[in-house]
């Protein structure tokens, strides 16, 4: 009996110790697990905080974006207003330019009308011709007519623009355009003179085209004075050099090389004439259309 008690006691003791050990181990495991969970929870908390922070930043950025969009819309509206305003200013400037030109022409017309009867003791042309007791009778777009000389021996004379002294050109407000336009064209025998702007000279046919304001005049170069012929030959040489340089540039282009000569036409008066570009453009606007 005593032995049995001892063995049973020993077994119980061992079982008690085993149970105690089991609980001890589990408690440690739970403690470790708990600590790990706490760490994970702390990590999750920091991640959560970070996400909240990011969410806050995103919300702020979104608000900023909305503000920027509003500003952009506002600026776009302002830009449209500025564009309109610039466009209106350009129209106003254009209108002022036209007004200025109209006033200039009006004033010049008045100056030229009042010039009739103006008296000058003497006058010398750029070509060296000297006139005394000069009285202007008419100022025209292509020159000036005047009387000169002493009473009883007076003569009448007309001067083309290129014969006018520079102070007269300035005084009667002849423009560069008029000076260019009013080149005189004199016949080979010197008996006839026409005024007009040089348009073209075709070396192959010898035809010279000028614009006298009322239309085109065509001359054979042989009908013109030596001075005119020399001028035309100079122009032809100058034109050839310029044309060669332009053609060289056009030859390098896909578009320009095909249309540089003999392809384009332009309306002048009542007819189409061959048109050659006076420069080598970088871009072409092509407009496909028809009258129908």
């Amino acid at each position: 009996m005593k032995r049995f008690f001892s063995v049973r006691y020993l077994v119980l003791l061992i079982a008690g110790l085993a149970i105690a050990y089991y609980f001890h181990i589990n408690r440690k495991r739970f403690a470790d697990g708990n600590a790990q969970l706490k760490t994970e929870l702390a990590d999750l908390n920091s991640e959560w905080m970070e996400l909240r922070k990011q969410e806050g930043e995103l919300t702020y950025a979104k608000q900023e974006l909305v503000e920027i969009n509003k500003k952009l819309e506002s600026l776009s509206g302002e830009a449209a207003q500025i564009r309109q305003s610039v466009s209106a200013e350009q129209l106003a400037i254009e209108s002022l330019k036209q007004r200025k030109k109209a006033l200039f022409l009006e004033y010049r017309e008045q100056v030229r009308r009042q010039a009739k009867g103006a008296y000058f003791d003497e006058m010398t042309t750029p070509q060296g011709k000297h006139y005394k007791n000069v009285e202007i009778t008419e100022v025209r777009p292509d020159g000036i007519s005047f009387r000169h000389g002493a009473a009883g021996a007076a003569g009448a004379r007309g001067l083309a623009l290129h014969e006018l002294p520079s102070e007269w050109v300035k005084r009667f407000m002849f423009t560069r355009e008029e000076l260019e336009w009013a080149r005189s064209w004199t016949s080979a025998d010197g008996t006839k003179t026409a005024y007009g702007k040089f348009k073209s000279y075709d070396e192959d046919t010898g035809i010279v085209t000028i614009d006298d304001g009322a239309g085109k005049l065509l001359f054979d170069i042989d009908q013109l004075s030596v001075a005119n012929r020399k001028w035309l030959e100079k122009q032809a040489l100058k034109g050839k050099a310029e044309a060669a340089a332009i053609f060289e540039e056009l030859d390098k282009q896909v578009i320009g090389s095909k249309i540089k000569k003999g392809v384009l036409s332009k309306l002048e008066g009542d007819h189409f004439f061959d048109f050659t570009m006076s420069n080598a453009p970088d871009y072409y606007v092509v407009y496909y259309s028809a009258s129908w």
Binding site: Y283, Y287, A290
Partner: protein, 87 residues
């Protein structure tokens, strides 16, 4: 015409070319005189040699902005004239 005068006539970098799809030069001339067109034309008999026929569409009017190397930069009047502003 207004766009041409404002944006192209004074711009040396750009040339305006009218590719006339009228079958005869007489018809093209009649129209050009009526409207007093200031630009250069490619008339029917010069279509092939102009090198511009290949860009034509099956409808008119058609505007095209092309660079000197033949690259199309814009199509349609609005896009073309808007781009011409920047040239």
């Amino acid at each position: 015409m207004e766009s041409f005068n404002k944006k192209i006539a004074t711009n040396d970098k750009v040339e305006f070319i009218h590719f006339s799809l009228d079958r005869t030069s007489e018809a093209a001339l009649k129209w050009a005189k009526k409207e007093n067109f200031p630009w250069a034309h490619v008339l029917a008999d010069k279509h092939a040699e102009s090198g511009l026929k290949k860009y034509a569409k099956k409808f008119v009017p058609y505007y095209m902005l092309v660079d000197k190397d033949g690259k199309i930069l814009a199509e349609g009047s609005q896009a073309v004239f808007a781009m011409v502003d920047d040239l």
